[in-house]
């Protein structure tokens, strides 16, 4: 009887079981419908969506998009996912759906090749041929953008790996940008004596661990570096050993920051005169300028000189990539924008925002530091080498970067590190070739 009464009370209650269940059901259905709609990539007339992993560049994309709109009728609508790992996963999955973004930002080299071989990217070879005819790209840049002979990406920018320095600090200690290896060593010695850490080097964040590796190997022998990253030379060869010995020597002398130095603090440390030279991609210009230092006035940059003066000068370059998914929602518009991205008018606005250089050799960077370096590289015909991070099967690079991190903390020797890298290279190149076959 009691329970009968209870049941009656329940049913008379304004929020009965059925209404609660119905409410939950309706709420769930609404939530699911909301999730499924995902209209961020839907067609919006006059724009193309651009997925990317760096929200701080949104303004730059919008500004470049305004120029693009004058040429193609389509502006850029950036969709940022600020976590690179999550961006990578989401992009790879979304390319297989019918709601792919119109354009995506990706990395060049083997990361682009890995994505292109899934068949989810559009072939941009004809657009590249047009660019080449107009002299808006160099033929050297093609390899990092292609897979099996076809082009799948347009270079987003072309950064150099440089050593930034604080001009006032250099003046104070009677130093200048080094033209030779000996001058570089001299600078480091002087700075160290003045209680300033000469070089920024870190493995914090994982990937920066290869910055000094690529730099030193290419400055020992640029030809060897090119062969090493294409799997033709070995990590245990004398050139690689020499590079790691130099590196170890720098660390032993206390010339490098601790291996857990946060690169985000690099610009501030450079401004405060705590570090002397900051090896990083030239895109860092923007970050240093954000501390209030003026490019070309308060800070400047140089490319590391070769170890032997007889060795040809080289510079490590890095290009992000703009690619067009095969299933892009506004495919035609995206192709039109890809075909005009390297137009000097668009590049001017974009590189002024980025404070970096364009992949279009006819576009002069607004940043005087980069403009000077670019001019010199063209005049002296420096060898342009791709960054290590994109120059091999992704698993190889990931594993070898971990090994270099161990080396930087002293938990593995130079010999041991190179042996481990060589073993992985043999394995991963074989796996890549097997997959290709």
């Amino acid at each position: 009887m009691r329970s009968n009464g209870g049941a009656t009370q329940w049913s008379s209650h304004p929020l009965g079981r059925r209404s609660v269940l119905a409410g939950i059901g309706a709420g769930g259905a609404a939530a699911l419908a909301g999730c499924a709609r995902g209209d961020s990539t839907a067609v919006k007339p006059g724009t193309t969506s651009l997925a990317n992993d760096n929200a701080t560049w949104d303004q730059g994309y919008v500004a470049a998009g305004r120029e693009l709109k004058k040429l193609t009728g389509y502006a850029l609508r950036p969709l940022s996912n600020p976590n690179p790992t999550s961006y990578k996963q989401v992009t790879q999955i979304s390319l297989q759906t019918t709601k792919a973004t119109d354009m995506i930002k990706w990395a060049s080299g083997y990361l682009l090749k890995s994505l292109a071989r899934t068949g989810e990217l559009s072939d941009l070879s004809s657009l590249w041929a047009d660019y080449e005819r107009r002299g808006w790209v160099t033929s050297q840049a093609r390899e990092a953008m292609s897979y099996r002979g076809s082009v799948y990406g347009m270079p987003l920018y072309e950064s150099y790996y440089v050593l930034f320095y604080n001009t006032a600090l250099f003046r104070k200690h009677g130093l200048r940008a080094p033209g030779t290896w000996e001058e570089l060593l001299h600078n480091a010695e002087v700075l160290k004596k003045a209680d300033i850490v000469p070089f920024v080097a870190t493995q914090s964040g994982n990937w920066p661990a290869y910055e000094w590796f690529q730099e030193l190997v290419s400055k020992v022998d640029p030809q060897f570096y090119a062969e090493l990253i294409s799997g033709k030379a070995h990590y245990t060869d004398p050139q690689a050993k020499q590079a790691l010995q130099i590196w170890q020597d720098f660390m032993r002398k206390g010339w490098m920051t601790p291996a857990d130095f946060d690169q985000n603090n690099g610009p501030a440390a450079l401004k405060a005169g705590q570090v002397g030279m900051f090896l990083h991609g030239s895109w860092q210009s923007q970050g240093i300028a954000a501390t209030g230092m003026k490019p070309g006035v308060d800070f400047d940059a140089f490319v590391m000189p070769p170890v032997e003066s007889s060795t040809r000068r080289s510079v490590i370059t890095e290009s992000g990539v703009l690619a067009v998914p095969r299933k892009a929602v506004s495919h035609e518009a995206a192709m039109a924008n890809a075909a005009n991205w390297l137009d000097p008018k668009v590049q001017k606005v974009w590189t002024d925002f980025l404070q970096d250089a364009s992949a279009n050799p006819r576009s002069r960077p607004g940043n005087p530091v980069m403009a000077g370096l670019k001019d010199r590289a063209q005049r002296e015909r420096w060898t342009l080498l791709p960054r290590y991070g994109e120059s091999g099967p992704p698993n190889l690079i990931q594993g070898n970067t971990d090994d270099l991190g161990s080396f930087m903390t002293g938990s593995s020797s130079a010999e041991g590190t190179l042996r481990s890298m060589a073993g992985r290279a043999a394995e991963e190149w074989a796996a890549w070739e097997r997959d290709e076959a």
């Binding site: 291996a259 971990d402 991190g405 903390t409 097997r434």
Partner: protein, 319 residues
Amino acid sequence: MSSSLDQRKPPLPGPRTSSKPGPADSPPPRRSARRLRDRLAGAGFLAPAVLLVSTLLLLPFATTVYRSFFDDRRVSGFAGLDNYALFLNDPVLTRSIQNTLMWVVGTVVLPLLLGLAIAVLTHGGGWSRAARLVVVLPYALSGSAVAVVWNFVLTTDGAANQALRAFGMDAFAQGWLLEWPGNTLVMILANTWQSAGVAVILFLVGLQTIPPETLEAASLDGASGWRRFWFVVLPQLRTVSVIVVGISLVNGLKSFDLIWVLTQGGPGRESETLAVSMYQETFLALHPGAGAAVAVVLTTIVLFTSWLYLRRQLTPKGN
């Protein structure tokens, strides 16, 4: 459930031929129909939970187990137990197991001892409330936030080394997060700083449920101080200790966020635990097969350890 449903149902309408029981013992058709309806209703209530658990837990787990038997080439093929063999011949995974064991021991022993000590010392006494609050507060922070705070402390240029240098102990200043096993040990300490709070709360609850009569009886018998704690208080905290150890055990096995923010498992994958290795292999090294094998092994260990431990420690009555 069904009995209460039965009770709630109004009596079935219609006259009953109660004087004559039906042929043989079979229930009358109306009753069996009612039972079927009850069962259907029961199944209906269970369905949402079963559906949710199946789609969100069991199905992905089955997929993961299935994936772990396939290799990580571009066109994935059946690989048998190859991915599991990595636990024997991949030094990274061997180190990962070592680290996981260190984490389990550290996260069980430290919060248990510290939690108990702090709870006993701050139980009663007015001033102790503030002290208790300070200890419990970190538990309210998220793992990532705790890691960011500890990052300021533990980096080579961080607060710990600056403090050591300020007191002239330069020799002790070091890269706390850069060398194994030191980096794993300091991360376990950082984790203890956070997780001791929950142990304190649980032990305080345990202490409050101890009947004062037992303590009074102990005093009358002449037991005081350490003897009273060891022979009277501690045995009565057994259930709470079981829960604290159980929670810490699982937390230790699945520790991820703190490590990810502080070292990302590095340098050189030296400070990874199995949970970090699972993420590394699957999403960074792009070895979903190997990652699935790590996930399966980790899940098996967590389930087996929890089952073994709780089965031995908790009787049905909970004492």
